[in-house]
Amino acid sequence: MNCPITFKQRKVLFMEQNELIVMRDIVKAFPGVIALNHAQLTLHKGEIHALMGENGAGKSTIIKCLTGVYERDAGEVYVQGVEGNVFNHSTEDAQKVGIATVYQEVNLCPNLSVAENLFIGREPVTKLGTVDWRTMNKRAKEIMTGLGISIDVTVALENYSLAIQQMIAIARAVDMECKVLILDEPTSSLDDNEVEKLFNVMRDLKAKGVGIIFVTHFLEQVYAVCDRITVMRNGSFVGDYSISELPRVKLVAAMLGKDFDDLAAIKPEGNVEINPEIMLKAEGLSHKGTVKPFDFEIHKGEVVGVTGLLGSGRSEMVRCIYGADKAQTGKEYIKGKEINIKAPIDAIKEGMAYLPDDRKADGCIGDLSVRDNIILALQARNGMFKKVSRAKQIEIADKFIDMLQIKTASRETPLSQLSGGNQQKVILARWLCTHPDFLILDEPTRGIDIGTKTEFQKLILQFAQEGMSVVFISSEIEEMLRTCTRMCVMRDGEKVGEIDGDMTQESVMSAIAGGEK
């Protein structure tokens, strides 16, 4: 009995007929953390399987262990049609056994064309064995049109926004003839429209018998498409439930390991009276090629949302205000004083802060420690010669790690080793520690788990109460409704209007879609 099972004996274990993947007792340790502690996952044929858990629960890690990005330390993996315990040493191996994956961070090559990104590694070839560009471009066009996106597929990927890139990554995985499709937070940068398209694709594949693993932090989406749910917590397996046996509240409780009073209304009732003091005012600001001239105004202690369709220029608008892209026309005033913003540092000195939407490109300094990442903006504001003392750095870092519940092995861990959601928290901490008067949050809750998300929203309101002005961009209208007092609507790089007072899902939707004009 105490004799361990040898490899040969293990081969004898049968998988059930409709099981596509069985992962058991998976262990994966990183220096300082045990990311997976005897985790398990079972995927059936023709099901959409949600993988749920807090930030840093180990969702991405278990997926990477399956697809060969990481090599597991222990555990067994069985894949239908492959004999024995499967060890994928590279993603190439995983593709060979029929696993296609969209990873959490967009993993495409920015220098290649859209078509190539879709087909690299499996390019259509001519009779001579050479790459058939014509067919490739044609098929790429078809695939993208099929997803409702009409773009020039011969243009380099870097010219497209994060959302489009996300869709391309999905399209690539979907187009592979696979048994198993893994989607790690594919929807985090998509708007509702795109999400619906994705769901349709997923349902089609499901009908064809493909098993799908779907990671998301949006509970609605889980209930919209999924059949089963595996919940993970702290790298361990909590349970494998069918969707019907696990209502929302229970799911959240399972994820967090404690009861959670769902999404209690966090916005104070009634209209908050607006502080008459104008914090920031922009007149005719514009950036050539992205945003047309717009006016903008925000009062002290106000939370203003910016909404619009994918690519409507929400990000560009706030970047312009912050000076991340230097505005070419227009004037900006802070507290009535005209300011001249040439670079972000000028904005920081005026008390602004900007949490960018493209975390990987604009936010993370991956190889630096969590501590360095947190104090970066504060240090930049202080200037090079006023170094924040080591003790102070540690104090600040510890404070925010605690306050935002950042899951990290230590404060000296490189940021790149944190899970996606925790990286986002670190970047937020970077801005909070500068005590800004005016905070711009572009998709701050992207990839953040449900518990923290609520905390986040509470935090935003708390800041507002303390007199901070906040601009808030989110793809989730609901989230904005819960926090904002007013909303700007963007369409095609133009500010087309503002909504205040009567803000409901419907009114916002119709404003975005541009029903009336």
Binding site: A347, D362, L376, Q379
Partner: protein, 352 residues
């Protein structure tokens, strides 16, 4: 055991280990290598040679480390800039057109400052091209790589300019009464100043941020371009100082030969010190140790009488061994192989 493990985890362990390895070879081959004596009131021995002769590379490596960290590229002009600075100084000291002098035309300090200033100017030019015009570092520095030496030669009127003035020899040799080669002090001073600057200001953090993700650094309020420019200027100044030392050793400006191929050694030193040439995090001490490792190899080969033309073969092999030993992947392989061996042992034991 625990302590040893902890020691091996240290960042500097590997570069240091490699240096020791090279010295160990010497210990086995010829223990006399380590004899240090005092002759004519100065320290004398191969180890002193390594410290002394390694100064230029070490100083260059300091500047190069910063440049590599901030721009993920290398400054290949440092060798030429060394030569230019030396020529500039000698021209100032001797006066234009004079090819040998025993009297200085200007005070020595002025001449030396001028040389270092020239280095800074070259660094500024490289920096402007890289930081402002976003030209790839290697190409931007290729310009001065080609031109600096020639400009130096023009300054010296196409000749080797000799400064036969005793104090000028101090920098590269000995100050009377002091048994330690002056170059060692210069190196220590350069390293100390740069380290202090990095420690006392946030420059280190800025450099690393700009080097890892310059877009994110800019958004966080760091003027990436300025930091990049600054690093190139520092690198240029380091090259200028190294040029002074090299020039003082031969009390002349041999434009064609001062700093010849030093850029390669400087870059190699940075890498041997465990720094990634891809930019980002850096480790100054490692680079300095790397520099002395290279010099130790060179001195060893010379001591063993390996012909200078063929020495590169041995040098190449040693370098490969060092980097392979340092490579994380290699360490992983070894660890895996070990684990497998152990696992097999266990399994084998059970069957028996």
């Amino acid at each position: 055991m625990e302590k040893i493990k902890k020691l091996t985890k240290q960042q500097l362990f590997l570069p240091f280990f490699c240096l020791l390895l090279v010295l160990l070879i010497n210990l086995i081959k010829n223990p006399a290598f380590f004899s240090i004596g005092i002759q004519h009131g100065v320290l004398y021995g191969r180890l002193i040679d390594i410290l002394n002769r390694g100064s230029e590379i070490a100083i260059l490596a300091v500047g190069q480390t910063l440049v590599v960290a901030v721009s993920a590229g290398t400054d290949i002009s440092v060798g030429s800039v060394m030569s230019l600075s030396a020529c500039g100084t000698c021209m100032m000291l001797a006066g234009y057109g004079v090819n040998s002098t025993t009297e200085l035309a200007v005070p020595m300090g002025v001449g030396i400052l001028f040389g270092i200033f020239l280095g800074g100017v070259c660094g500024a030019m490289n920096g402007a091209l890289v930081a402002k015009l976003k030209i790839q570092p290697m190409v931007a520095t290729l310009i001065l790589f080609t031109a600096a030496r020639a400009i130096g030669l023009l300054m010296c009127n196409n000749q080797i300019t000799y400064i036969r003035y005793e104090p000028y020899k101090y920098l590269g040799n000995f100050i009377p009464g002091c048994p330690v080669p002056t170059a060692i002090f210069v190196t220590i001073a350069v390293i100390a100043v740069v380290t202090l600057f990095l420690k006392k200001t946030a420059l280190g953090l800025y450099i690393q941020s700009a080097g890892i993700n310059s877009r994110a650094a800019r958004i966080s309020g760091i003027n990436s371009a300025l930091i990049c420019f600054l690093c190139y200027v520092i690198c240029g100044v380091c090259a200028g100082i190294a040029g002074m030392v090299a020039s003082s050793r031969i009390y002349s400006a041999d434009s064609n030969n001062i700093g010849l191929n030093y850029e390669l050694d400087a870059i190699l030193a940075v890498a041997l010190g465990g720094n990634s040439l891809g930019g980002g995090k850096f480790n100054l001490a490692g680079a300095v140790i790397g520099a002395y490792t290279i010099q130790a190899i060179t001195t060893t080969l010379l001591a063993m009488g390996v012909s200078t033309d063929q020495a590169p073969v041995v040098k190449a092999i040693i370098v490969i061994i060092i980097v392979v030993v340092q490579a994380p992947t290699f360490k992983e392989w070894i660890a895996n192989a070990e684990a497998k061996r152990k696992a097999l042992k266990v399994e084998g034991g059970q069957q028996a």
